[in-house]
Assembly symmetry: C2
Homo-oligomer: 231 residues x 2
C-alpha cells in the first residue's frame, strides 16, 4: 500500500491512537482495490470487516425487494464506514451495499479485532460514537426533508451537500461530477424530474449543465430554494 501507519490518524476514530495501536490495526487488516462500478460488499453479507477508504469514492446504498435503489451516503478518503460489525459482532449482516464510484482502495479491518480493541481503548469507542451520532443526525434530517419538502428543495439540498463534500472550485463556480441519475437517487426522485428541474435552473443562470457534470454558478440561489424561500 502507498500509505504509512500514521496516515491512519486522518481517520477521525484513530486520531488519538498510539503508534502501537495503529500498527496492530494494520496487522489485522488487508487492503482491497476495486474498480469503478464494482461492489465492496452487499446488503446482507456478514459484516466481517470494517472499512477505511484510502482512495477513490464509494457510495452506500440500499435496494428494496423490487430492485429500486436509494443512496444513503457517499464515502470519501479517510472516512470509516461499515463499522457496525465491530459493535454487533462479525456475524451481523451489513444493512447496506457499498459500490465504488471510481477506482478505489480501502483498508479492510477485522470487525472482531476492532471490537476487542474497543474493550480497552475508550478513545476508540468514543470516536466511533461520535461518528454514529453525526450520521444519525444527518439521516434524520434527510428523512424529515423527504417527508415534508418538495422535490425542488430536495434536489437543491443534495447539490449543496455535494458541493461541500466533493465540489471542485473552478473559475466560474463549483463543479460536481454526478449524473442526473445519481442526483435523483440522492434526493429521492427520478432522473426525469432532476433533468427538468435543473434545466429550469440553467435558464435562470443558477447552474451550468453538462454530461455527468453540474457547475454551480450561484450557490446562494440554491440555498434560497433549499430553504423554500423561492416560489
Amino acid at each position: 500500500m502507498d500509505f504509512s501507519p500514521k496516515d491512519l490518524r486522518q481517520v477521525i476514530v484513530f486520531k488519538d491512537a498510539t503508534d502501537d495501536d495503529l500498527e496492530q490495526v494494520l496487522s489485522h487488516s488487508i487492503t482491497r482495490s476495486i474498480e469503478e462500478g464494482e461492489f465492496l460488499f452487499f446488503q446482507g453479507d456478514p459484516a466481517t470487516y470494517a472499512y477505511v477508504l484510502t482512495s477513490g469514492q464509494v457510495k452506500l446504498l440500499q435496494t428494496n425487494p423490487s430492485g429500486q435503489q436509494v443512496n444513503l451516503r457517499t464515502i470519501y478518503p479517510w472516512e470509516m464506514f461499515a463499522a457496525l460489525g465491530s459493535v454487533r459482532g462479525p456475524s451481523a449482516a451489513y444493512p447496506v451495499t457499498a459500490q465504488a464510484l471510481e477506482n478505489s482502495t480501502a483498508l479492510a479491518m477485522k470487525s472482531l479485532f476492532l471490537k476487542e480493541m474497543m474493550q480497552t481503548r475508550p478513545y476508540l469507542a468514543a470516536g466511533l460514537m461520535q461518528l454514529m451520532t453525526s450520521y444519525i443526525q444527518e439521516i434524520q434530517s434527510r428523512y424529515r426533508e423527504l417527508a415534508t419538502e418538495r422535490v425542488e428543495q430536495r434536489i437543491a439540498r443534495a447539490l449543496l451537500r455535494l458541493t461541500s463534500q466533493s465540489g471542485q472550485k473552478v473559475d466560474k463556480g463549483i463543479e460536481l461530477s454526478f449524473s442526473r441519475q445519481d442526483v435523483a437517487e440522492m434526493s429521492g426522485t427520478t432522473l426525469y424530474t432532476v433533468s427538468r428541474v435543473m434545466a429550469e435552473w440553467e435558464r435562470q443562470g443558477l447552474v451550468q449543465l453538462g454530461r455527468e457534470q453540474i457547475r454551480i454558478i450561484n450557490p446562494h440561489g440554491l440555498v434560497k430554494i433549499a430553504e423554500g424561500l423561492e416560489k
Copy 2:
C-alpha cells in the same frame, strides 16, 4: 420514585452494570414527570441530560422551518433516548423534540456524568453503540421506504411496526391506540390519506377502526401489502 435502582437493569445499556454503578447514575439524575402533550425538551436545546423513560410514552419528532412535523420514533418504558449529549458533550443541541403521548415519568441523567463514566466502563459504551447501530438501521430502512414505496405500503409497515412495539392482543386481533394523524406522521403522509386507505382495508376485513383505535384482524394481509405483493 417508584422504582428501585435494580430496575435500571431493564435498560439495555445498563444490563451489565454493577450495583454501585447504578447508584452512582441515580445520584447524578433527577426524575421528571410530564403530562400528555407536554414537552421534555425541544430541538435545539442544549443536551444537558440523557433520558430513560420510566413510565408512559414519549415521541421524538422533528419540525421543519415552516412547522410541519415528522415523527422519528416512539419511546416506551425503559428505553434510553437523547443520549447524544453523552457523546458530544452537554453543550451539543438536541436534534429532535420530545413530546409526551401520555402522562409520563423519565429519569434525567446528566450527560456529562455519563460521558465520564464511559471512559472507564467499556460495557456502557458498547451498550450505547448497540443502541445506535440498531437505530441507524431502522431509520435507514424507513428512509428507503419513504423514497421508494407508495403510501399504502408505508402505512401498512407503520402499523406492523406499532404492532410489535405496543400492540395489545385482544380476542379478535391486535389493538393499537393511535389517531389517524399519528399514523400519518409515522408514515410520511396526511391524515386524509390514512383515513381513506384504512377505510378501504376495513371493507376488506383486514382491520377494524374506531376513534383513536385500530384493531388489526389480519396481520398477514398487511404484511402482503407492506411487501408490495398486493395490487
